[in-house]
């Protein structure tokens, strides 16, 4: 299966007065066509920054981004001119942001915002001529846009799509705002949608509605999706493959089933154990806290907090090794055959 998006060796650092903060190190990820992939990790692990860098929306003077390649549909989009990148961002890759409450502008109606997105999505720079004059003359483009907006809103199961066009975002509830955002992401017919914490701000009963909706849309349109979340339950429900990030590095990756049922990396194990289970068990959490990105621990990034840590973990950095088919761990404790050392 061809990869839709492939990121090779991404590194992001920030220059602070205390030193250089290496936030993301050696990230390699891919999303295949029609696949759902999740990036999970706790606060501060760098998952959002990673994705923003891939999309080119991470402001680059404070951040220093180094990457071998970000391959989207065969072209390397790393370091691309913002005009070309804008075209790809608008029509190939869409993003649904974390907080539906604030992601929509409160001063424009839903209709205005969505029509804008549809009309101008592949034109990152618009001249006044285009916008002021040509657009006013061409009535058809607006009509076409409105039709498309209504269709997309029905696709996300909005009740009364025509009425929604004239409403403002604060007149809608959280669940409805999230649906509008998803519609805004779909209206440009993307190949890949990135969801940043899609259900965090929503109530439980609404969360399931949104998750079911996303599943349906993915199936209908054969979309590829990338989910960023810290909610492992949501990740399990939505994704085929999963990347577990800790302190800016990928510590484990594989098929969701494999990682959840048989976690191998000590961090993943600790994380999954910490979740209270309905069977009545709950782990003790993970000791310590995330490292200082300016003074990273030597060797394996997780060793200060790892219950299995040995001498070698302090000196040699670990790399991703395939221990089972399509199940990679970054840990010294396991050999290629999957046996514990």
């Amino acid at each position: 299966m061809m990869s839709l998006l492939k990121v090779k060796n991404l590194n992001i650092s920030f220059k602070l007065y205390r030193g250089i903060s290496e936030v993301v190190k050696n990230i390699n990820m891919k999303v295949d066509v029609g696949e759902s992939v999740a990036i999970v990790g706790e606060t501060g692990c760098g998952k959002s920054i990673c994705v923003k860098a891939v999309l080119g929306i991470l402001p680059s003077p404070p951040a220093q981004i180094n990457c071998d390649m970000i391959n989207y549909k065969g072209t390397n989009i790393f370091g691309m001119d913002y005009r070309d990148l804008g075209k790809i961002r608008g029509s190939g890759i869409s993003i649904v942001f974390q907080n539906p409450m604030t992601a929509l502008s409160p001063v424009f109606t839903i209709g205005e915002q969505m029509i804008d997105i549809y009309k101008w999505h592949s034109k990152p720079t618009i001249s006044i001529l285009d916008w002021w004059i040509k657009d006013k003359i061409d009535k058809n483009s607006t009509k076409e846009a409105i039709e498309k907006v209504i269709n997309t809103l029905s696709l996300v199961k909005m009740p009364e799509p025509k009425d929604i066009l004239t409403k403002y975002s604060f007149q809608l509830s959280g669940g409805m705002r999230q649906r509008v955002q998803i519609a805004a992401a779909l209206i440009t017919d993307p190949d890949l949608i990135i969801f940043d914490e899609p259900t965090t701000a929503l109530d439980l009963s609404i969360q399931n509605q949104i998750i079911d909706l996303i599943k349906e849309i993915i199936k209908k349109r054969n979309l590829s999706t990338l989910f960023i979340t810290h909610n492992l339950g949501v990740a399990r429900a939505l994704c085929r493959r999963i990347y577990v990030m800790y302190a800016g590095e990928i510590v484990e990756t594989g098929y969701g089933k494999d990682v959840f049922d048989n976690p191998l990396h000590p961090y993943t194990k600790g994380l999954l154990a910490s979740i209270p289970k309905l069977t009545g068990k709950m782990g003790d959490g993970i000791e310590g806290k995330i490292p200082d990105y300016i003074n990273r621990p030597s060797g394996c990034g997780f060793h200060p907090r790892c219950v299995y840590a040995k001498e070698i973990c302090k000196h040699r950095p670990s790399e991703l090794i395939e221990v089972e088919p399509e199940h990679y761990i970054s840990c010294h404790m396991l050999t290629k055959k999957g046996d514990q050392l």
């Binding site: 509830s173 509605q209 339950g233 979740i275 209270p276 289970k277 709950m282």
Partner: protein, 303 residues
């Protein structure tokens, strides 16, 4: 009943919390669970009704006696960062409750502060630091230390771990359990995390739009939920391990949105979204009835 302008945040709630237990209140937004918790802690004053604490009616107390009773009722807030004054150091924050209630001499207070910070597993060195120098988990430990320093009997935990990562949450919950075992606290635990509630509580109350719709001991509620809303809510849980799936009722998708609290439906508050609604549900408000021992339900299907 508590009115906030023309919105009924909490309506006709009868609650019994036993000494030494952890009683959880579960609900979504608009359920009134936070308002209820804060009213019980006397942060808000109830519009109607009584709150009895150890036999004393809190709503009828004068200011002075109420202040004294606040020693015994404490609150741990939801957001650790915003519940701590950023301009005060930790020692001051912990001394505050003692100074306000005039507990102990200067030396005794300093000793109490040291003990409190050690009980929550933070090092003494933290005393001179400011909240912004702490991690989220450490800040919440501080919030707990502040709540226990006056040696209260009853602690309202308002979603204490909602904003924390899962690995930190586990440690905070274990700390709370240890404190309960050592010092016999009674907890009122407000949360929307159903798995956590199952792990942590003895009894659970489910609320929806200001009303109590079901109340039962934890194991009973999770294995035998009666109200359709409870069943639907439980079915919407997303577990992470394979063996949990059989403990969740079959998936019931809930349609529609949660109505706004200023526009509460007539009759049973849940009826517009209820998949088992009957004619009666449209106009008659069901009463909270004890169906089995200690298992209360508010639903016409069980009358």
């Amino acid at each position: 009943m508590k009115r906030v302008s023309s919105v009924k945040a909490v309506d006709d709630v009868d609650l019994n919390i036993l000494e030494g237990e952890t009683h959880s209140i579960v609900g979504e937004s608009g359920s009134g669970k936070t308002t209820l918790g804060k009213t019980i802690a006397m942060i808000y004053r109830p519009t109607d009704g009584d709150i009895f604490f150890n036999g004393v009616n809190l709503t009828k107390l004068n200011r002075y006696n109420l202040k004294n009773l606040r020693r015994d009722i404490q609150v741990v807030f939801q957001e650790p960062t915003s519940s701590l004054n950023p301009k005060r150091n930790i020692k001051d924050i912990l001394l505050d409750p003692l100074i306000i209630h005039k507990i102990g001499s200067k030396q005794e207070r300093n000793k109490a502060v040291k003990e409190a910070i050690e009980t929550v597993e933070l090092h003494e060195d933290f005393l001179l630091r400011f909240p912004r120098m702490l991690s989220e988990g450490q800040k919440q430990r501080l919030g707990i230390a502040r709540a226990i320093i006056t040696n209260p009997k009853f602690i309202v935990l308002d979603e204490p771990t909602s904003s924390l990562d899962v690995s930190v949450q586990a440690k905070i919950i274990k700390l709370l359990l240890k404190l309960q075992k050592d010092r016999g606290f009674t907890y009122l635990f407000i949360s929307h995390d159903l798995s956590l509630v199952k792990y942590f509580s003895h009894r659970v109350t489910v609320m929806y739009l200001g009303k109590v719709i079901e109340m039962a001991p934890t194991t009973e509620l999770y294995s035998n939920p009666l109200n359709p809303y409870t069943i639907a809510l439980l079915s919407s849980m997303l577990p992470v391990s394979e063996d949990e799936f059989k403990l969740i009722p079959e998936k019931i998708p809930l349609s529609g949105e949660i109505p706004s609290a200023s526009n509460i439906p007539q009759g049973c508050v849940f009826h517009p979204r209820c998949y088992k609604a009957i004619e009666k549900c449209n106009h008659v408000v069901p009463k909270l009835i004890e169906i089995k021992k200690d298992h209360f339900v508010r639903c016409h299907l069980y009358e």
